[in-house]
Amino acid sequence: MGDIVAMLGHGFMQRALAGGIAIGIVASFLGAFVVQRRLGYLAGGLSHAAFGGVALGILLGVAPLAVALPFTIAIAVAIHAVQDRSPISSDSAIGVFFSVSMALGIVFLALTPRYSADAFAFLFGSILSVSAWDVAAAWALLIASVASMPLWGRWAMATFDAELARADGHPTRRHDLLLFVFLAVVIVISIKIVGMVLAGAFTVIPAAAARLGCVRFSSMTMLSVAIGVASVVLGLCGSVAFNLPSGATIILVQAVIFLVMLTVRPRGT
């Protein structure tokens, strides 16, 4: 306990908590849609696809996430276009794009003349690497998601039934694309803390746990956000206390909450 209190005095821990809480809110807010639309594979695919962008940034010697952001958004747009306009199923489209991005990432790293320890920090997450810019980006994302709240009812309508939403006059294709892009941005910004390997799970597990305890989508969204924030705080503290990687610790905390919800879930959910 004393370790954690002492650690809270350090700038890196304050930045990790400030950024992590903002990302935890946004990722688990979006996670409610990811889970109900069965987009877990997309979330995992985009987090792996980000590797190509990160590696390109390392090769070019520029900020990896500055390259990973447009790179991952482009992959999300491409997956949406292929699944929307071709007979290819969404999981095949995701599989193709994320494999190619991973392959490109490996090639980019192989072409990098110097060894880079950065790649491992991006793969598994490191609270030591969270900068003031990362915190600012996380809070900008949180503000953007609060501003997008009027879209919640439309996204939720389309999540319940896309056809009914279209019959009601909602432009569901445009909204879906926006959701995909939003997911890509959340995943890239969460990479510093949870790492690319686990960034996808970061959006899925809190919402999946929340689904087990709720019979209303609005309650599921709110509980998902609460679980997301709690897991970031507990995970970061656990990571410091036990000297464990931050991303893995956060995901393990989420997994424990998921298991508890699975065990004690109310009847009818």
Binding site: Q36, W152, G153, R154, A156, M157, T159, F160, D161, E163, L164, R166, A167, D168, G169, H170, R211, C214, V215, R216, F217, S218, S219, M220, G268, T269
Partner: protein, 248 residues
């Protein structure tokens, strides 16, 4: 002069290279009940979905009271889908489903006014007692009635239904038609309903259209649902033709 209600003009719908419907032409007066019949794959649901702007129309036009759907406004059209196609794993209460028809978006929380309106609609279809029940715990028939209540939200001028009696037992089915006919009577609404059931069309509809990717017949049910026309509609569909008068 008859006031135009639901009009279809030389409609063709294609899915890629597959022509789902071609040359459909009909006019239903305002306040009338049209039954859409035909074998599986005949394009019955496609006609309703084309009217709702859910499938690409290659040529032709569909008009509501002489207006396009966009000009009329989607809120003037109530849609009752087949409940069996819906994802029941979505966490929702029956009252929220109905409220989403009032607000045309999913409600984060219900205002007291929305709650009262949704309860009145659920009461109209006899489902007030399941208002706070999750949809995963409703029977097929109960869910279909909840969707009927949603379709009637906002007092629409047009009600489009896609096989609303699927999964509903006979007494509940008759109740469903009674509610629909009462609404039509009270509101003067035009009803377009896809059904497999010829008897329902004979008993309740003013007009019937028989499809098999083309329009086989259109007019009063007694004139359309003749053995010759039914044979023509079902001949190419790989169906054994049921006895005329039996459920289709």
């Amino acid at each position: 002069m008859t006031v135009p209600g639901f009009e279809v003009e030389n409609l063709t719908v294609e899915y890629g290279r597959f022509t789902a419907l071609a040359g459909v032409e009909l006019s239903v007066p305002a306040g009338a009940f049209l039954a859409v019949l035909g074998p599986n794959g005949a394009g019955k649901s496609t006609l309703v979905k084309a009217a709702l702007g859910l499938v690409p129309v290659v040529s032709g036009a569909i008009r509501f009271r002489g207006l396009s759907r966009a000009a009329l406004g989607p809120s003037r059209i109530g849609y009752v889908p087949q409940a069996k196609t819906l994802d029941r794993s979505f966490p929702a209460l029956a009252i929220e489903v109905v409220a989403s028809g009032i607000t045309r978006r999913w409600p984060f929380r219900l205002t007291s006014k929305q709650r009262a309106s949704a309860m009145a609609l659920l009461g109209r279809v006899g489902m007030a007692d399941v208002a706070t029940r999750p949809i995963s715990r409703l029977s097929g028939g109960q869910l279909q009635r909840v969707f009927l209540a949603r379709g009637l939200a906002g007092d629409p001028e047009f009600v489009l239904l896609d096989e609303p009696a699927t999964g509903v037992d006979t007494p509940a089915e008759e109740d469903l038609y009674r509610i629909l006919l009462e609404y039509r009577e009270a509101r003067g609404a035009t009803v377009v309903m896809v059904t497999h059931d010829w008897e329902v069309a004979r008993r309740h509809a003013d007009l019937a259209v028989l499809l098999n990717r083309i329009q086989v017949g259109f007019g009063p049910p007694a004139d359309v649902l003749t053995p010759e026309r039914l044979r023509a509609a079902y001949r190419h569909a790989g169906h054994a033709l049921p006895e005329a008068g039996a459920h289709g």
